[in-house]
């Protein structure tokens, strides 16, 4: 084998088997059209729902910073409650990074999965847990890429009710990621240390963080639902507006 053949063969190891991919795609056509997308979702949701038990330690935040409240009013929002920021107290804690997950396999049983639509999910959590988002962001649930629901045993015990709600613009350069669970914080790998300075929005205490690259993160409990929200590509103003739409709702 010549040097070039060796290097070519080695370089091709990184590439997929074209015929295998072709067969996989064509085989997906044997399923109903809807389920082609769900195959992916099925793999995603159990894990997403269960960032639940994922514990790594990635981001922590030794530094703290605070910023004054945005003075400008929210353009395009008719909700006056969102503009009433007199009692807001915002402190941005510095994050090393947004949450990142490590490998972990969780035993969620699909036969226990109770799928829900948006309305049913709101009924389960007890209120409308979907925020107002910038108009260019679309909910992935609408494209079949996210599924909502809970995992409930036959005896009625709910053992996992963590859901993930994603929004993004068309090329996913602006992404909003919301993990929520009933009665407790969603499990994730962000650890705020004891030095974290809390913020208050509309009377709701929360931990806010941002990274040097301009990503935002929030964690709070409101009306018996725990939230962890992160945003990439959104402005600070947009992120705060998303939060305000939840705590004011």
């Amino acid at each position: 084998m010549t040097e070039r053949e060796l290097l070519t063969q080695a370089a091709r190891q990184a590439l997929p088997d074209l015929e295998q991919v072709r067969k996989t795609c064509l085989a997906s056509g044997n399923m109903p059209v809807e389920t082609a997308g769900r195959t992916w979702a099925r793999r995603l949701l159990p894990v997403a729902a269960c960032a639940a038990l994922i514990l790594g330690t990635v981001a922590a935040l030794p530094e703290q910073g605070s910023s004054s409240l945005p003075q400008s009013t929210q353009q395009g929002s008719s909700n006056e409650a969102l503009m009433d920021r007199q009692n807001w107290e915002i402190h941005w804690n510095t994050l090393d990074t947004l949450p990142q997950e490590t490998k972990m396999y969780i035993a969620l049983m699909w036969e226990d999965f109770v799928e829900m639509d948006q309305a049913e999910l709101c009924t389960y959590y007890g209120w409308d847990v979907f925020p107002q988002v910038p108009s260019d962001l679309a909910n992935w649930h609408e494209t079949g890429e996210d599924r909502y629901g809970i995992f409930r045993r036959k005896d009625g015990t709910v053992y996992c009710d963590q859901n993930v709600v994603n929004y993004s613009n068309e090329d996913a350069t602006r992404v909003l990621h919301i993990a929520l669970a009933k009665g407790n914080f969603p499990h994730s790998d962000v650890l705020f240390d004891t030095q974290t300075v809390p913020s208050t929005l509309a009377g709701v205490e929360m931990a806010l963080g941002r990274t040097e690259s301009g990503d935002y993160f929030a964690r709070f409990l409101h009306r018996d639902v725990g939230f962890e929200i992160s945003a990439q590509g959104l402005s600070q103003e947009e992120f705060l507006t998303v939060l305000a739409s939840l705590v004011d709702s």
């Binding site: 990184a14 894990v47 996913a172 990621h177």
Partner: protein
């Protein structure tokens, strides 16, 4: 449109576009080990679209598939996609089976030695920076010229040459004998 016709259309688009899509994904991914997943997701999405909307939906297959690839690359690296990586459908690190061609050629021993050497080169490459791995994948894996590789990676051609030849020189220690080693 009947399923058979959709399959034929898919095959035609797949044949026409797979190389450019692979090149795009290779250039844009964070890790070359993600290429396979993103590539498959792209074409699964294409096939789903064809089934759902028929052939009339597609004006420019090349542009559509690149757009889908772009979307899949971005989404692959969002938070939930990182989660998605937790349950790989197939082991990315699984070694490909050793293939032994039936036709007359190098001996079985030579084949095994060559395969071992290829594996060794792969392991060495895996420790190089992503940009080096991308250069090798584009230039040797996909047969792009140095100029095309540089353009795809948005770097200078001299940079590509430098990285490529320097790495080859280092790799040569694996498969060339030093003077005096083998008189």
């Amino acid at each position: 449109m009947a399923g058979q016709e959709i399959a034929l259309l898919f095959n035609r688009i797949y044949n026409e576009t797979n190389r450019s899509v692979l090149a795009y994904i290779t250039a844009k991914c964070s890790s070359v080990s993600d290429i396979g997943d993103i590539f498959q997701e792209t074409y699964l999405e294409l096939y789903r679209l064809l089934l759902k909307r028929g052939d009339g939906y597609i004006q420019n297959p090349q542009a559509l598939v690149i757009r889908l690839a772009k979307q899949k690359v971005y989404r692959h690296y969002t938070l939930t996609q990182r989660l998605h990586q937790l349950l790989p459908l197939e082991g990315k690190d699984e070694k490909r089976p050793l293939t032994i061609p039936e036709e007359a050629g190098p001996s079985l021993e030579d084949q095994i030695c060559d395969q071992a050497l290829v594996d060794q080169i792969c392991r060495e490459l895996a420790h190089r920076p992503q940009v080096v791995q991308k250069i090798f994948t584009l230039h040797y894996g996909l047969g792009m010229t140095l100029s095309e590789t540089a353009q795809l990676l948005s770097v200078g051609e001299s940079y590509v040459k430098n990285k490529l030849y320097r790495t080859i020189k280092e790799l040569q220690g694996l498969y060339t004998e030093k003077d005096g080693d083998n008189p």
